[in-house]
Each structure stands twice: as structure tokens, then as C-alpha cells.
Symmetry: C4
Subunit: 238 residues, 4 copies
């Protein structure tokens, strides 16, 4: 990994571009879809899947491509990110997310500063955010390194549709979307509920992963190499 200043540039830029993709494709989708919200969300989904895959690959070797305070928190708990890096990571993710929203407004000739009016609240929405973030963290923790970008992107694409909240699954995303009164926006008053649900979902995934890992470790401890383990493990079924 790079030195801290450059890692923070990577996190800031990556989160800004991620929010630009999420919010910008929502604006474009809504403008062109003639009132059919499913078509707008399909466009929003495809852009997010493609953009997320690329951004994770592009910035991964520098900063780990978190773009998400819940992920950074989990990485601190797992010992992957030094504890002292947590606050700087979160700060640049939040700032980057806000700048991403503003970049969209500049491109689409909208007012740069605005706040979203769209209320996203209620038990169903909070359960959805908890489920969405639970799934995201589980995918990140269990994905082989070479496939994490593709798996996270595919997961978020599915979660845009199967969770009732369209799966923010990211406190920085909730923060950034607050600054755009468009398709992907969220009213400031709805953000705290989303963030709490997201952290709760992330913690549940951490706990479950710890439980599942134990058995995997036991099974792997005799062979060693990560790729063959799969094959070897399968052989043992026979």
C-alpha cells in the first residue's frame, strides 16, 4: 500500500467518482426514462455495477478501495487497516462523496448546492439497509482477492433491486446523496437511520464471518495454497 497522503487521495477520488456514478446515472436515467422508474433504476444499476468494478480495481492497490466508512471500520476490527487511519479515511470519504454530488451538478447544469427532499424511512427501509450492508461485508470478507471487485459490483447490482431501500449500504453514500435533490437523493433527516442500520448490518456480518471462518480454517490447515484448497476440498467429498 501507498503512504497515507496518497492513500487518502485514492479514497477521496474513488469515493467522489463512485458518488458521481451513482448520482449522475440517476439524473441521466430519470431525465431520459419518460417517467418509468424501473428503466431509470436499470440504468442506475448498470452504471453503478460497471463503475464500482472499475473503481475498486483502479484504487485497490493504493488504498484498498474502501470508499465506505463501514468497510474501513470492519478493516480496523480485522486488523487490516491501522486504527489511526480510521478517522482520516472516513473524513476523506465523506468529503469525496459530497464533491462527487457537486461534480454531477456541474456536469448536468444543476444548482451546485442543494439538499435532497426524498424521505427514506421506516422499519422496512432500515431492515433493508441492514440486510444490504450485511451482505456487502460478508461478500468483501469472503471473496478471493482476485474476484473481490467483480463480486462486490455484482452484489450491489442485485441489492439495488432486492432490498426495499435500493441498497445504499454505505454511510458515505448516504452522506453524499443528501447533497443531490435527484433520483438517488435522500433527505438529511433520513440519513441517521440509514447509517445506524448499515453499521448494525456490518457488525452482524463480522460476527457471522468469524463463526464461519473457524471451520474453514480447520479444513484448510492441512493443505496451504489458496487455489488448490478448493479442488482438494472438493476431492474430499468423494
Amino acid at each position: 500500500m501507498a503512504d497515507l497522503p496518497r492513500r487518502l487521495i485514492a479514497e477521496a477520488l474513488g469515493t467522489a467518482l463512485l458518488l458521481a456514478v451513482v448520482i449522475g446515472s440517476g439524473v441521466m436515467g430519470e431525465r431520459l426514462a419518460g417517467g418509468n422508474a424501473a428503466i431509470a433504476l436499470l440504468a442506475n444499476t448498470l452504471a453503478t455495477v460497471g463503475g464500482l468494478y472499475v473503481l475498486i480495481e483502479v484504487f485497490g492497490p493504493l488504498s484498498g478501495s474502501h470508499f465506505n466508512p463501514a468497510v474501513s471500520l470492519v478493516m480496523v476490527v480485522r486488523g487490516v487497516l491501522p486504527r489511526s487511519n480510521l478517522v482520516p479515511y472516513i473524513v476523506v470519504q465523506l468529503v469525496g462523496a459530497m464533491l462527487g454530488a457537486w461534480l454531477v451538478h456541474l456536469m448536468f447544469d444543476m444548482k451546485v448546492f442543494e439538499l435532497a427532499a426524498k424521505v427514506r424511512s421506516g422499519t422496512g427501509q432500515w431492515i433493508a439497509e441492514g440486510v444490504a450492508t450485511f451482505g456487502l461485508i460478508l461478500v468483501i470478507l469472503r471473496a478471493p482477492a482476485a474476484r473481490v471487485a467483480a463480486m462486490v459490483a455484482a452484489y450491489i447490482g442485485a441489492a439495488y433491486w432486492f432490498t426495499a431501500s435500493t441498497s445504499f449500504a454505505n454511510p458515505a453514500a448516504a452522506f453524499g446523496r443528501m447533497f443531490s435533490d435527484s433520483f438517488a437523493g435522500i433527505a438529511p433527516a433520513s440519513v441517521p437511520g440509514f447509517v445506524v442500520a448499515e453499521i448494525a448490518g456490518a457488525m452482524m456480518a463480522l460476527w457471522l464471518h468469524g463463526r464461519l471462518e473457524k471451520s474453514a480454517v480447520a479444513a484448510t490447515s492441512s493443505s496451504g495454497d489458496p487455489v488448490s484448497v478448493n479442488v482438494v476440498k472438493e476431492e474430499r467429498h468423494g
Copy 2:
């Protein structure tokens, strides 16, 4: 592979999340699509493809990621899954499928318990389910281990559209969808016909695979080409 309790957790959770993806994206698609069923099914398809790919990768090293009694049955016949595991696998798959439907209802503020009214019946539908499951099992048996998740996901994405039944191809999916009176639902009275057709399709794939395999083994022994070697390795499971 993990010990049995953890494998059962993986099968239960994986099947629950798979059904949540299938049913939830159907609910979201239908709500947003303004009456255009093709757009709803496109959304349903993309979510299922992404979700299925990720779930197979995430839980494969633990339980083999069956999420499907027809797959577990085939794996017992092939000697990959111990015969004594078959009933526990199927029980947690069915329970997980039902819980997945209920999770969707919680997220989308629907009544938790309900039964589907959508009749799916008739010769065309049964042939379709037979074809769908035949194809699924053939793909699973012939896919190289590293590509099985992507190939199964791509196959199901195609089968949602080319089979008249939108390709359940999974008795646990038929069971779980029975509990949701929404886009992806199936009336309880239609479930037995689907399950019989699915098992029949699976058995035909098993039989055909046995026939095709023989030749591959014979051919490989003289050629030694790396592609066919894969097939031979799989044979050892049997």
C-alpha cells in the same frame, strides 16, 4: 468443507438470500415497471444473475453452494455429497427459502405470511421446467470449478427468458416462492408439478453427462490436453 452444522448454516443462509433476491427483485421490478412485465422480468433477471453468482462464490467453499434439492440429490448420486447429508441439506434449503420470502415481505412492508395465487401449470410449463433443470444440472456437472458460479448465473439468466416457466429449476425455489403472492410467486397447487418436472430434468442430465463423460476420458488418455483433464478430475468424485 466445513463441519456439518456450519455447512447447513451456509445452505440455509445462501438459499434464504437467493430467494430474497429472486422474490425481492420481482417485487421491486413490478412496483416500478408501470405495468410492463418485460421490464420487470429484465430487472428480476439481472438481480438474480448477480446475486446467484455472488452467493455461489461466497458459500461454495463451505457447503458447495447447492441451494437446491435437485443439485444435492445429483451430488449424492455422483458421490460428492454423503448420502446421510441429503435430508438435512434439503430441510435447511426449504426452511431457508421460506425465510427468504418472509425477509422480502419485512423489507417491502408486506404481510409476512401469505400464499401465492399465481397458477403455473400445463404441459408447456412442465416441459419448460424439465428443460430448465436439465440445462442447469448439465452446466453444473460440466463446468470447470473456477467458472461454475459465472456459468450457472449466466445460464439461469438465459433460462429466465427462453423457458416458458421463467426457469425455477429448483424445488426449494418453487417451495419458497409459494409463500409470496407477488411477481415471482407460484400457487401451492402448482408446486408438485414443477418439482416432478425438475427432478425428471435433473435425472436426464445425469444420464446424458455419464454418456458424454465416457468419451472425454477415452479421448484424453491419448491427447493429454488441459481442457479435457478437467473432466477427468471430476470423474474421480463419482
Copy 3:
């Protein structure tokens, strides 16, 4: 590769399933799309891309996954397929294609035997089929073996939209689609024009590939880089 009878089963079954995917997803798309042909073609495209990718992977180690007389012809010219196999390959491809159409009719409760009424003719359509097949053969000849399935599927997905003929690019597909009076159908009188254009496009790709290859070989002998080596290995087939 397998012995001839099993290779012919693979070609017949693969072509039948390919046509079932192409025609079936067209039927489903047209039924659900409420008159919007772009949505029907999007569904048709996604199903074809997923299905083609999987079928090439599944049957490749057995028969080479041609499913296409133009491809088999090219492989004979390149020395990859024995000349004596050409007629049997083409016969089972044509029979399989027809059976694929009939399977769709059984699943969708349509009359089994019918002929398409949709005229596809004129200079623009023939140029389109020539371009479509030229591109397909160039992709097949230049793709690294490990990526050929993904590349062919992605190419056909693009060609469904950028060629005016929606890219049949396959005489067996033209033959099979003749038997279904649905979204993907083609009137029998239009088939010969398509087949001639396809063969012409394939021959142009063969010629161009020979020209491009020469330079690659010359360049590789001095550089030894692993990417070009691939090309050299393929040359040995010729």
C-alpha cells in the same frame, strides 16, 4: 476431443439449445414487452449472450462448440476439423436448429410446425450479415482459447444491435429460425441470401486473419511475449 458420434451429439444438442435460447427468448420478450420492440430485443440479447457463453463452455471440450456451419467450414480450412467431419457436423447442426425451434413451440404452447413469414432481404440486410459473420469469425480466430466463449458471446450481444439484420451470422441459425413464425423468425425465401452473405463474410475474415497473422509471427520470434505466443500456437492448426 471425443469420438465422432459423441461430438455429433454435442453439436446437435448445443445447436438445439442455442436456437431454443434465441427463439424462446424472442417469444417471451415479444409476449411481455407490450409492443416495445427495443425491450424485446434487449431481453433477446441478454438471453443469447448468457446462453451462448454457457453453451460454448459446456460443449467446447467435446466438439469445439461450433453450432454453426460457417465456423465448421473455417475450421476445416484451418485444418482444425478433419475434412471428412464437415458434412456430418453441418447435418446435425441443421437438424438440431430445427429441433430447437420445435422445443420452444412445445414449451410456449404454440403449433409445433410452422414457417416464418418475416421477410429479411435487401442490400442493407446482406451487407449486415456479411459484416456480422466477418466479425464473428475474426473473433473466433483471434481469441485466446480461455476467453473465446466470453468474447464470442459479447460480440454477438453487440452485433444484435449494430448490424441492421440483428446478426444471425450462422447458416444453421437462419435455417432453424425459418421454422418459427415469431420475433426471431425469417421467411424461407430470405434464407439463401443470408447464407450467401454469411459465407462471404466468413471467407473475408479468414483471408484477413491470414494477413494479420503473418506479421504477428514475425514480430513474436524476436519478442517472445506471452500474448503473441498464443497466436503462433494457433497458426500450427493451419
Copy 4:
């Protein structure tokens, strides 16, 4: 790499096919979408993603698959492309782009020569083109060689939606689209603004990449991890 004449054939043919994909799928999308521009752009996006992925893979070993004067310029600055090749590369890219537009017109029975009337201008559009090309060049410079085709294709798919200009990100694409008065067209008077913005975005990406690279090199010398090694190897071009 091949000798210069064959590399120029590859660049000309690749750029022609790329523009045929971009413009042709726009024509088809607009014809079929019944006035819903979002559906037309979805089709345009999917065709472009598939086509771009395949074209980069197919011609990469010959010419590097630039298809884009901004990319060729960056490669000259990085020392990957000899300075003397820059003008020939750009000339064949421009000619190829124009021929690609004309090929579409032949296939779709349109007048071969025409100029687009669609004005694409203003600060928002120029910022969008700068952002689009900045992202494209950053992806190209940072992608591992084995994934560059998939990453570029996924990036452009996202950028079609998140940038207000639908992301031309390529002076040759702007030039070629000028010759088609259809969905993907751009009025000749709007081309210079786009080209300036694209070059500016490319230069910013070059500068940023240089800054980020330094740290990666420093970090790698102590860690030796295979992901960062890639970055180091690329540095040698510079």
C-alpha cells in the same frame, strides 16, 4: 507488436468497427425504442460495452488497440508508442471512424454521406467530456494488462450514463459521429469543444497517474506483493 502497416490496419479496422458499433446500435435503438431515449441509450450502452471489450482483445496484440488519438498521445508521452507513429495512428483512426459511420449507413439503408445536426455544447458538456476522458486514461494507465479490455469496457458503460455528454472520451469518436445524423451524432461545430476537453482530461489523468505511481513504487520495494509489481513494470515504459 506487428510491423507498422499491419498495426495501422488494426487501428483503422478496430476504430471503424468501434464506431460502427456505437453509431449502429444508436440507430437500431432509436428505431425500436418507440421514443423512450433511456431504452435506446441502454441498448447503445450494452452494445458498446460488448463491442469495445471484444475489439480491444482482438486487436491488442497487434496495435495496442488505441482506437483513440488521446490514448495514442498518452502512449507517446509514456514512451510506449514511438513518437514517429503518432501521426499515422491518428490519421488511420480518423479515417476508420468515418468509414465506420458510412458502413452503418450502408447497413441501415441510410444516405451514406451526411453531417449531424445535434448540438452538444456548453460548460456542463465540456466538464463532462473532461471527466470522461480523465477516467478513461486513468483506467488504461492503472489496469493490469490482463484486465484492461474488461475494465475499459465497464468504465465506458458507466460513463455513458454518469457524464452529461454520454462520454465520447475520444477525439476519433467525436470525428466519426459527426458523419451520422442519428442518435449518436454530434454537429461539426460542437466537435472542437469536445476534443479540447478530452485532451485536457487526458493530460490531467497523466499527471495524476505520475503522482500516484511514485508512491506505489516506493511501497512495492518493501512489500513485493504481486499486485503492485504490475504498476512498477508499467513505470518502465515512462
